[in-house]
């Protein structure tokens, strides 16, 4: 327990930890403040005004399509060469249905808690996961590269205990930041919705869904923190983790993405990690294959789809953590320290 407390103290004493955490929290605060100032509460007057603007645009569309139809028929009667401007059958030129032009297009942005809050949990988790990753990598990487780990092992020669205690302290520290931040995130956006939008129809089921998404976000933060820690420990340097991520993102994602695109691979996104991270947060990501046709009753084609679910993502994340952390533990146990 003394080692755990000491490592927790070491973590909080590090300036990098403090600055990165502060930076992450400032970015999160900036998002909340930004959303607050870019949204408005909608009143009845604004709604009526929007309806009027929608009507106005519909009337313009009717006038325009009528004019175009007349032009089309005149061109047809004059035998002017059809340069592709008009269809063969001028009667198909018709205005869009009235309901297609929605009044909300003419409304200022408003924050609907029920419809929008779910999406905000993705940047919340992403920003804190990034903070966790670099703090985790630096926490153990700097210990290796400055000789601190060797000093510690002269005091506590149980290598696995030392590494796992460091990880436990790190995850505790990250959790101690993430949980209050999550509470503030919920509260912040509730306030945004209250003053700059709507909190209507937020039922207990909606809350439950948000809470589950929040929990998945926290798990994502812990997973990426662990991976950053394990990669840096494996390479015995912070740069190993950061370099690894750059390599994975540049080669593994952009490079692979381009390669899969060129090879015309079906479901190319299924090979890319961000798809799974997104699926973890949104529960499902539906991929579409536009080179296929599923005929509908109305004679049109719909692309084939494939769902990536959060359960599949959980398997991938679990395997990733087990493999990378397992390798770090194995290396800690087996490799000489010099």
């Amino acid at each position: 327990m003394s080692l755990f407390r000491t490592e927790l103290r070491r973590l909080t004493k590090r300036r990098f930890t403090r600055y990165m955490t502060l930076l992450g929290l400032l970015v999160l605060a900036a998002v909340v403040v930004g959303v607050f100032f870019t949204n408005q509460k909608i009143d009845a007057g604004q709604l009526a005004q929007a309806e009027r603007q929608a009507d106005q645009q519909y009337q313009e569309q009717v006038r325009w399509s009528e004019q175009e139809r007349v032009n089309c028929e005149q061109a047809k009667a004059a035998g002017t060469a059809n340069d592709g401007r008009f269809p063969d059958d001028c009667s198909v030129i018709s205005p869009p249905p009235r309901e297609e032009i929605q009044a909300e297009w003419f409304l200022p942005s408003t924050f609907n808690f029920r419809e929008t809050f779910d999406e905000t949990l993705i940047p919340f988790a992403a920003i804190l996961a990034l903070v966790g990753f670099v703090v985790g990598a630096s926490f153990v990487g700097a210990e290796w590269s400055t000789g601190g780990m060797m000093n510690l092992l002269l005091w506590r020669p149980k290598r696995l205990t030392v590494l796992l205690t460091k990880l436990a302290a790190l995850l505790t520290g990250i959790l101690a930041v993430t949980l209050p931040a999550a509470v503030l995130w919920f509260a912040g956006f509730w306030a945004v919705a209250t003053f700059r939008g709507s909190t209507e129809k937020v039922t207990s089921g909606v809350w439950q869904s948000f809470m589950l998404t929040g929990v998945r976000g926290v798990v994502l933060v812990l997973v990426l923190t662990t991976i950053g820690f394990a990669l840096a420990s494996l390479g015995r340097h912070t740069a190993m983790a950061l370099g690894g991520v750059v390599a994975v993102m540049v080669v593994g994602q952009f490079g692979l993405g381009i390669l899969l695109e060129m090879a015309n691979v079906r479901w190319a996104e299924a090979w890319l990690l961000p798809t799974y991270v997104l699926a973890w947060m949104t529960k499902t990501v539906t991929l579409q294959d536009w080179n296929s046709c599923n005929a509908t009753y109305y004679g049109s084609c719909e692309p084939a789809t494939m769902d990536i679910t959060w359960q599949q993502s959980s398997v991938l994340l679990s395997v990733g953590v087990v493999v990378i952390l397992g390798a770090a533990l194995w290396a800690m146990r087996r490799r000489d320290i010099s």
Binding site: L3, G147, D336, S338
Partner: protein, 336 residues
């Protein structure tokens, strides 16, 4: 005296596809008795640091047996680690923490009372600079901090690798006094250093390692005596008598090297026999001085690392015991 540290047949081999196999430790033996200040000497790359790292569980040995404070290590390291203070090679600390923070965190990890931090800071002379970040420290101050970290847990065995590295002359003297005081208080100190004059001054016994094997060990006096050449320098009342003296001594089987104003004799068991031989020929000695060897010359001889004019010795070019014409260990076998 009971042994505090015993190493028997320690082996460590590094294998590399490019550089092949290198035996960093090749059946190395060592013994340190309780309460001693023990010097651990060897040229660069001879295996000193590898030995210490292996002993402290940082490197996995390929063979051999190690015992620390009566416990076989590395298996019992968790048991004995609290009684062994060590610094290995150059001092390394997180540069952005102060000395006090550094020691405080180590004390926390090792369950040492926080009050001990100020005691060791005082002991190594860092009390007034303890709040400054380590990255602002000179090498000598970092060295003091390293010694402080090793002393933090009041160890029974203190292992210091090059503790005087970077210290100013006053610091070296303080370190010497500290080592002696610690030994007098009952602590056993193992000291690895290249400052052989210091080792000779403060150590009770030494082990010399070369190419991963022990080439000499024992009390400092014994090691020096065993490698004394029996050389004697004599001067006569009259310089003109030197040729006659040379002839007389050579006839008696003594190897003589002439110099303009004196003679150097080798292989002299009893200096008194020289005076008697010369007096019998009416040649009178005005000075007879046995040439004492020092640890440095013994070290250079045993490890074959003495500089040769016009040659550039490479690391690893040193003496290995057991070869033809090479000196054997100064003492007997394991535990002698």
């Amino acid at each position: 005296m009971p042994a505090v540290l015993e190493i028997e047949g320690l082996r460590k081999t590094y294998k590399s596809r490019r550089r092949g196999t290198r035996n960093a430790l090749d059946g190395f033996d060592m013994r340190v008795d309780a309460g001693q200040v023990h010097g651990f000497l060897g040229p660069n790359g001879s295996g000193k640091t590898t030995t210490l790292r292996t002993l402290l569980g940082l490197i996995r040995p390929d063979g051999g047996r190690m015992v620390l404070l009566g416990h076989e290590v590395p298996a019992a390291l968790p048991t004995v680690a609290g009684q062994v203070g060590a610094i290995v090679e150059s001092p390394q600390f997180f540069p952005h923490f102060s000395a006090r923070d550094t020691l405080s965190l180590l004390a926390g990890a090792g369950e040492v009372p926080a009050t001990r931090v100020d005691e060791v800071l005082e002991l190594v002379g860092l009390r007034d600079r303890a709040g400054e970040r380590v990255k602002t420290y000179s090498l000598g101050m970092k060295q003091r901090l390293a010694v402080a970290s090793a002393l933090l847990k009041k160890p029974k065995l203190l292992i210091l690798d090059e503790p005087a590295n970077g210290l100013d002359p006053g610091g070296i003297r303080e370190m010497r006094t500290l080592m002696r005081n610690l030994a007098e208080s009952g602590m056993t100190v193992v000291l690895s250093s290249h400052i052989l004059g210091e080792i000779q001054l403060i150590c009770d016994s030494v082990t010399i390692i070369s190419l991963g094997r022990r080439v000499a060990f024992g009390p400092v006096d014994e090691v020096l005596a065993q490698h004394s050449s029996g050389a004697v320098r004599i001067r006569l009342e009259a310089v003109s008598d030197l040729p006659a003296a040379t002839e007389t001594l050579t006839r008696a089987g003594i190897r003589v090297t002439g110099h303009p104003d004196h003679l150097m004799l080798a292989g002299v068991d009893k200096p008194a026999s020289v005076t008697r031989l010369l007096a019998e020929q009416n040649l009178y000695v005005s000075e007879l001085a046995p040439i004492a060897v020092d640890l440095e010359s013994v070290f250079l001889e045993l490890t074959a690392t003495a500089p040769v004019p016009g040659q550039h010795r490479q690391v690893d070019e040193s003496m290995k015991v057991g070869g033809t014409g090479q000196p054997g260990p100064a003492g007997g076998g394991w535990g002698a």
